[in-house]
C-alpha cells in the first residue's frame, strides 16, 4: 500500500474540481484530483453550452477571480450570443455554444501545464478523519492519500443511478461507474444524505436532420466573449436551429407516460422545475399543443446534435418514436438515448459560507453534492472551495462573497440558508441587488479580491485598472459634452423633448437603449473612440446611477447584519425566550452571521431580534 501526501485532495474532476485545483495551484498549494478518467476533466455531461441568463454572471465572476471556465468557453466556442439585449444591461447574458471535445481538451491541457496538480485515476472510497478533522482518503483500490483539506466535487457520480424507461444502471454518466462506497463513508461520518435527479436528452445525428424545416438562429456579431484574457477563438460561428414538437409527439408521449420512471414511481427524487423532461412538460401543461426545441451542434468536427428541450427518461424505443414526430426530425437517427440520473447530495445547510462542512474540519463540498445543477454553479463553488481550502491551511480568514457582491455570493447564501427541494440553478431574479451585479462590472466587483489572493497575473490586473480609469474619464467627459439639436434628430421617437442636453442627461433617457446611444458616444469620445468597452461601461454606469443609489440604501441595511458574525462556539440552545422551532432551525443551519440567520426559511424578524440580543451579551461576556 502506497501513501501520498498533498495539501489538498479533490474528489472529482468536473467543473468544480478543476477550478478548485487551479485556484489552489495559483495560490501555491499542491493538490491531487482523484478522478476515474484523467482525459475527461471538465466534461460537459449535458448541454454543450456555457452561460445563459444568470449563469453568465457567474462565469464572468469566475474569470475575474482567475478561473478557467470563461477562457475555455471562449476557446471552444462555436456560437456566441448575448441574451436579453432588449432589456437593461444588468440582465444582459452571454451564452457560448461550445465544441464539447475542444472544451475538454483545452482544460486537460491547461491543467497539465499548471503547477502542483496531480491527477490520480481512481475512485475515492472513504474519507479518513482524526479528532473531527480530515486526514486523507482511501481509494477503492486501497491507496491512502494524506492531505490537510479535502474538497468533494462528485457531481452526479455520488450514488449515481441512471434510468432509461424500466432500465436502471449504476452509473454517474452513461457508460461510467458511480461512487457508492463514498456515500456510505459520508453516512458513517454522520452526514444527512438525500437524492436529487436530473436528465439529459438523446443525442441526434445532424446528417439525418432536415434543416430546411427548422428556423436558423445565428450567433451575434461582434462576438461577446467571457474572458478578457481571450486573444483568439478557434472556430467560425455555427448557427443553432429552432423547431417544434407536433400533435403526434404529444400523443405518443402521453400514451407512454406511465413507462417513464418518474410517472411509474420507479424514481422518486425531485428534478428541476426549470428544466423539466418533455414528458413532464406535456403532462403538467396539458393545454399547450407544442413545445419548442433548440437544435444545438455538439461541436465543429462532429455531426452530433443536442436537442435542447427534449430531456427524457422514457424507454429508448419511445424516445425514437417521439422524436421522429418533431418537425425536421422525421428521419432522424438517435446516437445516444436520453436518460434521467439520480444521485446523492448532502443538503447544504450542512456547510458553512466558506463551503466547509460543519461536521468535519477541513472537509469542503462543491457543486452537485450541495444540491446545485449546472456547470457554472459548480465551477463557482469549486473556485471558492479551492481558495478557502488554501486560506484554511494558511490559517487565514475565509473568503466569503455576500449577496451584494456577486452571483456566487447569492448562490452560496441561498444554499446555506434554504432547504434544497430541487437542483438549484441561478436566475437573475435570485439576486436582490441585480442592478449592481452585472456582467460589465464583474471585474470591478472582484478585482480587489483577485489581487489580495493572488489569483490573476499582475499584467491582467493592471490592464483592468487602466480600463477602470478610462471608464472614469469617460464618465466625466459625458457630463461635459453638450448635444446639439442636430445630434438628437435621430432620436425623436425616443425623446420627449428635443432641447439641447448633455451626453450624460441623454444617457439617462429611459427610452434610449445603450445600443442606440453608442454611435453618438463614439462620435463624441475622441480619445476612447475605439474602446467600445470603455464607452459601454461608462454609459451603463450613467444609465443606472440613480437606481443604484436607491438600491444602495437597501444594500447598506443588509450589510450591517452581514457583519454581525456569530461565533462558531455560540450555543443556540442556550437562548431563552426563543421559540423552539427557531432554536432548532438555528441549530440545523448554524448561520455564520446575523444576516444569514435572518434569511433562514421560517425565521421571523422577532427571532432575529432575540438572537441579536443574546449575541451582544455573548460578545460582552466573552
Amino acid at each position: 500500500m502506497t501513501t501520498k501526501d498533498f495539501d489538498i485532495v479533490i474528489i472529482g474532476g468536473g467543473h468544480a474540481g478543476v477550478e478548485a485545483a487551479l485556484a489552489a495551484s495559483r495560490m501555491g498549494k499542491t493538490s491531487a484530483i482523484v478522478t476515474m478518467d484523467a482525459k475527461k476533466l471538465a466534461l460537459m455531461s449535458c448541454n454543450p453550452a456555457i452561460g445563459g441568463i444568470g449563469k453568465s454572471h457567474v462565469v464572468k465572476e469566475i474569470d475575474a477571480l482567475g478561473g478557467i471556465m470563461g477562457m475555455a468557453a471562449d476557446a471552444a466556442g462555436i456560437q456566441f450570443r448575448r441574451l436579453n439585449l432588449s432589456r437593461g444591461p444588468a440582465v444582459w447574458s452571454t451564452r457560448v455554444q461550445c465544441d464539447r471535445r475542444h472544451y475538454n481538451d483545452y482544460i486537460v491541457e491547461y491543467v497539465s501545464r499548471a503547477n502542483k496538480i496531480e491527477i490520480i485515476e481512481d475512485l475515492a472510497g472513504e474519507i479518513l478523519t482524526e479528532n473531527g478533522r480530515v486526514k486523507g482518503i482511501r481509494t477503492e483500490s486501497g491507496e491512502i492519500i494524506l492531505c490537510e483539506v479535502i474538497i468533494v466535487a462528485t457531481g452526479t457520480f455520488l450514488g449515481g443511478l441512471i434510468h432509461i424507461g424500466e432500465k436502471k444502471i449504476k452509473a454517474g454518466r452513461i457508460g461510467e461507474k458511480a461512487a457508492y462506497k463514498l456515500s456510505d463513508s459520508f453516512r458513517g461520518l454522520g452526514f444527512e444524505i438525500s437524492r436529487l435527479k436530473t436528465g439529459t436528452p438523446p443525442r441526434l445525428n445532424g446528417d439525418s436532420i432536415d434543416w430546411d424545416k427548422c428556423q436558423i438562429q445565428p450567433g451575434d456579431e461582434p462576438m461577446p466573449l467571457f474572458s478578457h484574457q481571450t486573444k483568439r477563438v478557434a472556430f467560425e460561428q455555427t448557427p443553432c436551429y429552432l423547431t417544434y414538437t407536433t400533435a403526434k409527439t404529444k400523443e405518443i408521449i402521453l400514451e407512454n407516460i406511465k413507462r417513464s420512471p418518474i410517472f411509474s414511481g420507479q424514481l422518486n427524487s425531485t428534478g428541476p422545475r426549470y428544466c423539466p423532461s418533455i414528458e413532464d412538460k406535456f403532462y403538467r401543461f396539458v393545454d399547450k399543443p407544442r413545445h419548442q426545441l433548440f437544435l444545438e451542434p455538439e461541436g465543429n468536427g462532429t455531426s452530433e446534435v443536442y436537442p435542447n428541450g427534449f430531456s427524457t427518461s422514457l424507454p429508448e424505443e419511445v424516445q425514437v418514436a417521439a422524436i421522429k414526430t418533431v418537425t425536421g426530425l422525421e428521419q432522424v437517427e438517435i446516437t445516444r438515448p436520453g436518460y434521467a440520473v439520480e444521485y446523492d447530495y448532502c443538503p447544504a445547510r450542512q456547510i458553512k459560507a466558506n463551503l466547509e462542512t460543519h461536521l468535519i474540519k477541513g472537509l469542503f463540498f462543491a457543486g452537485q453534492i450541495n444540491g446545485t445543477s449546472g456547470y457554472e454553479e459548480a465551477a463557482g463553488q469549486g473556485l471558492m472551495a479551492g481558495i478557502n481550502a488554501v486560506l484554511q491551511i494558511e490559517k487565514e480568514p475565509p473568503f466569503i462573497l455576500d449577496r451584494s457582491e456577486g452571483y456566487i455570493g447569492v448562490m452560496i447564501d441561498d444554499l446555506t440558508t434554504r432547504s434544497t427541494t430541487e437542483p438549484y440553478r441561478l436566475f437573475t431574479s435570485r439576486a436582490e441587488y441585480r442592478l449592481s451585479m452585472r456582467e460589465d462590472n464583474a471585474r470591478d466587483r472582484m478585482a480587489d479580491y483577485a489581487e489580495k489572493y493572488n489569483l490573476l497575473p499582475k499584467t491582467v490586473l493592471n490592464s483592468f485598472r487602466e480600463l477602470q480609469n478610462k471608464t472614469k474619464q469617460s464618465i466625466s467627459s459625458f457630463k461635459k459634452v453638450r448635444l446639439t439639436a442636430e445630434d438628437l434628430l435621430n432620436y425623436s421617437n425616443e425623446l420627449n423633448n428635443m432641447n439641447s442636453m448633455t451626453l450624460e442627461h441623454f444617457l439617462k433617457q429611459p427610452r434610449i437603449s445603450i445600443a442606440r446611444a453608442m454611435p453618438l458616444l463614439v462620435s463624441y469620445n475622441g480619445e476612447f473612440r475605439d474602446r467600445l468597452e470603455v464607452l459601454e461601461r461608462a454609459a451603463i454606469f450613467i444609465r443606472y446611477q440613480g437606481y443604484i443609489e436607491k438600491q444602495q440604501r437597501e444594500i447598506d441595511k443588509f450589510k450591517k447584519l452581514e457583519h454581525e458574525a456569530i461565533p462558531e462556539d455560540f450555543i443556540f440552545q442556550a437562548i431563552t425566550g426563543l421559540k423552539r422551532e427557531a432554536t432548532e432551525k438555528f441549530q440545523r443551519f448554524r448561520p455564520d452571521s446575523l444576516g444569514q440567520a435572518s434569511r433562514i426559511e421560517g425565521i421571523t424578524p422577532g427571532d432575529v431580534a432575540v438572537l441579536s440580543v443574546h449575541l451582544k451579551r455573548h460578545k460582552a461576556t466573552a
Binding site: G54, L435, K560
Partner: protein, 467 residues
Amino acid sequence: MMTTTSQKSSINEDTIVAIITPPGEGGIAAIRLAGRQSLAFLSKHFRAIRKDESDFKPFLMRYGFFVDDNLQKIDEILAVFMPKERSYTGLEQIEIFSHGGSLVVKKIQEILLKSGARAAEPGEFTKLAFLSGRIDLSKAEAVAEIIEANTQKSYDVAREHLIGNYSEHIEKLRTELIEILAEVEASIDFPEEEIDPEETSQLVDRLNNLAQSIKELADSYTGGRIISEGFKVAIAGRPNAGKSSLFNLLLKQERALVTPTPGTTRDYLSEWIELGGQAVNITDTAGLRSGGGVIEKAGQSSAKKIMGQADLIIWMADLSQKKWAENLSEDLNENLNRNSIILGNKIDKVSVDKKTEELLSDYNVLPLSCLTGQGIDSFKRVLVNAIAESMPDLTSGLVVTSARHQQKLKSALAEIKQAKSKLAENQSPELTALDLRLAASELAEITGRIYNEDILGQIFSKFCIGK
C-alpha cells in the same frame, strides 16, 4: 400577529421615536427620541419661550413651542436632553412632555417621523438599554417577552381578532404583488422560452387595483385612530354663539370660560366624554368671524385646524341674531364641507314663526337652548347616531391602527406608483422589478419577509419553462 423588524435597528444608525405614555387622554404625554440625531430633530422643531433658554443642557428642562415645518405652533412643551452617557438607552436621548391630547402627541410624533426619525419597534428602547448595558444583563431574556407583550397589551381580545384578518389581508396584497413581479421577472429570466407574460396594460390594471387597496388600507388609519384614540368632535361657530355653553353642558361641569364679551375663548379646550358607548373627544374652538385682533386670529386659525382634524363638526348658529340664516349660509360655504351637525342655539330667545320654521328645515338646523336645556336630548340622539355612522367598519377588520404600518403602506404605494409609470412607458423590466421588490419588502415588514423563492415558485407554477 404583529411582527417587529428590530433586526434593522442597529445601534448607532437610526434615530427612533415613540410616544411612551399610554394611548388615550392624560394631562401630560411623553414622547421619546433616541439616537444620534435626537437633538437635531428636536431643535428643528423647538422654539424656546425665553431666548436665553434655547440651548439644551443635559438634564435641564426647557420650555417652549413645538412647531411644524411651517413654524406653526403645535403645542407648548417641556423638553429635556440626556447625553448618551447618562440616558436610559445609552444613545443621545430627548424626552418631550406635551399636553395629553392624543391628537397633539400624534402630531408631534408624525412631524418627527417626517424629519427622518423612525418609529420605534415595540420594546426597542428596552432592547437598546440592554444592549448598551444600562439594564441588568441577567434580565436579557425578559426582552423577548417585552417585545411580545408590548404589542399584545395594547390590543384587547377583539382587536387581536381584527389583526388576524388584517395581516391576512396584507398577505393577500403581498401575494398579488409577487404575482405581478413574477410576470415581470419571467420576461427577464426566460427570454427564450415560449411564455406569454401578461400584456403591459393588464399588469398596469392589476397594479392600479392593488394601489387602490393599499391606499384604502393606509387611509383607514384615520378609522384606526378612532378605535385607538376615540372619536373627535369639534364645536365651532361664530363668537358668542354658545359653543362653550354647549361644551360645558355636555361635560356637565363648568370648565370653559363663558363670558358675554365676544371672542374670549382664544385657544381651545378639549375633554373626553362617553357617548353611546364610544369615547368621544369634544373640543371647544374659538369663534370664527372676519376681523378681530391678532390673538383672536391665532385662535381662529387653530379653530380651523381643529375642525380640519375632527371626525365630526358641530356648528352652532345663534338664532337670536336677526340675520342668523344669512350668516349661516355664508358660514356653511366658508367652513363646512364635512361631516357636521348644525345647531340653532338660543331657541328660547326667539318666537318661532312659520318663516323661521321653514328656514330651520331648509338649513337642517336642530334648534336648542343651552340655557333651558330645550332640545338637548334630541341633539344627543342625533349626535350618537352620527358617531355610530362615522365609525369604521370593524367587521372587515381592515383597519390600520399603527403609525408604523401606515408609513410602510405609504412607502409601498409610492414604489408601486413608480413601477406603474415605468411599465406604462415601456422601460426596461429590471427597473420596474426593482420598484416592485421594494414595495413587496415594505409590505413584508408588516407581516413577514419576502423570499426570492416565492417569485420563482410563481413563475414555475404559471409558465411552462424548460429548454
